[in-house]
């Protein structure tokens, strides 16, 4: 059974600081996703990572994938309040059946 673990589960940051969220998974995967979710809202797709060494960046967020280590990271640069949300990683072991991590609730304080 595929297990996906995120850490930390809760993260409180000061504005302007950098931090990294980690996502470990237990079996070989086809692809890995990062999503953002605001309270009571839907999931917004941030990144889709398909291959070893993949790195994608959008604004203050950068995601990377190491398939050999079964590890993905979501790096936050110079955090701003608008980034406060819950971030999920999700892993597919075959097309379309995603297993989600527990989520990381990020709070960015002024």
């Amino acid at each position: 059974e595929l297990k996906v673990e995120q850490n930390p589960l809760f993260l409180s940051m000061q504005e302007g600081k950098n931090y990294t969220i980690y996502c470990n998974y237990s079996t070989t995967s086809d692809r890995l996703y990062w999503y953002r979710q605001d309270p009571g809202k839907s999931l917004e797709s941030l990144f889709v990572l398909l291959s070893n060494g993949a790195v994608k960046q959008e604004g203050r967020l950068m995601a990377s994938l190491d398939t050999k280590a079964r590890l993905s990271t979501l790096h936050i640069t110079a955090a701003v309040h608008d980034l406060s949300a819950t971030y999920f990683c999700a892993v597919d072991i075959h097309a379309g059946k995603s297993t989600f991590g527990d989520g990381t609730t990020l709070t960015v304080k002024p």
């Binding site: 086809d30 692809r31 996703y33 999503y35 009571g40 809202k41 839907s42 999931l43 917004e44 797709s45 889709v48 999920f88 999700a90 597919d92 075959h94 097309a95 379309g96 059946k97 995603s98 297993t99 989600f100 991590g101 527990d102 989520g103």
Partner: protein, 114 residues
């Protein structure tokens, strides 16, 4: 751009009643996924359909059934509702035939069972 449409957005039912949730995927998307997200939980995969055929099955209770119709919309039917079925239900769609596995999520249906 068109997004995934779900209806209704909110639904209140009593125990042992039935509920039907509807999902309209993005036009030309051939795959639909259903997820259940309980309060404070991560989304749990329920079931998916590709080209109107069941593709994968997750932790979907036997009381639930789903199908995808000829126009690609999908319905999740839930019977003998229990208090524990109260959750956000998300539908997502993707274009598997085009090799795009990125899932686009709808706004969700909030089901409350009393």
């Amino acid at each position: 751009a068109a997004g995934v449409i779900q209806s209704p957005r909110h639904l209140i039912k009593e125990k042992r009643e039935t509920a039907t949730l509807k999902c309209y995927p993005i036009p030309r998307h051939d795959t639909v996924y259903w997820y259940q997200q309980g309060p404070g939980q991560d989304p749990q995969f329920l079931i998916s359909f590709y080209e109107k055929m069941q593709s994968d099955k997750g932790s979907i209770p036997d009381r639930f059934s789903a199908q995808q119709f000829s126009d690609y919309h999908s319905e999740l039917n839930m019977s003998s509702l229990e208090l524990g079925d109260s959750a956000l239900y998300f539908c997502a769609s993707s274009s598997r035939l085009a090799g795009d596995y990125e899932q686009y999520f709808g706004p969700g249906t909030r089901l409350t069972v009393t």
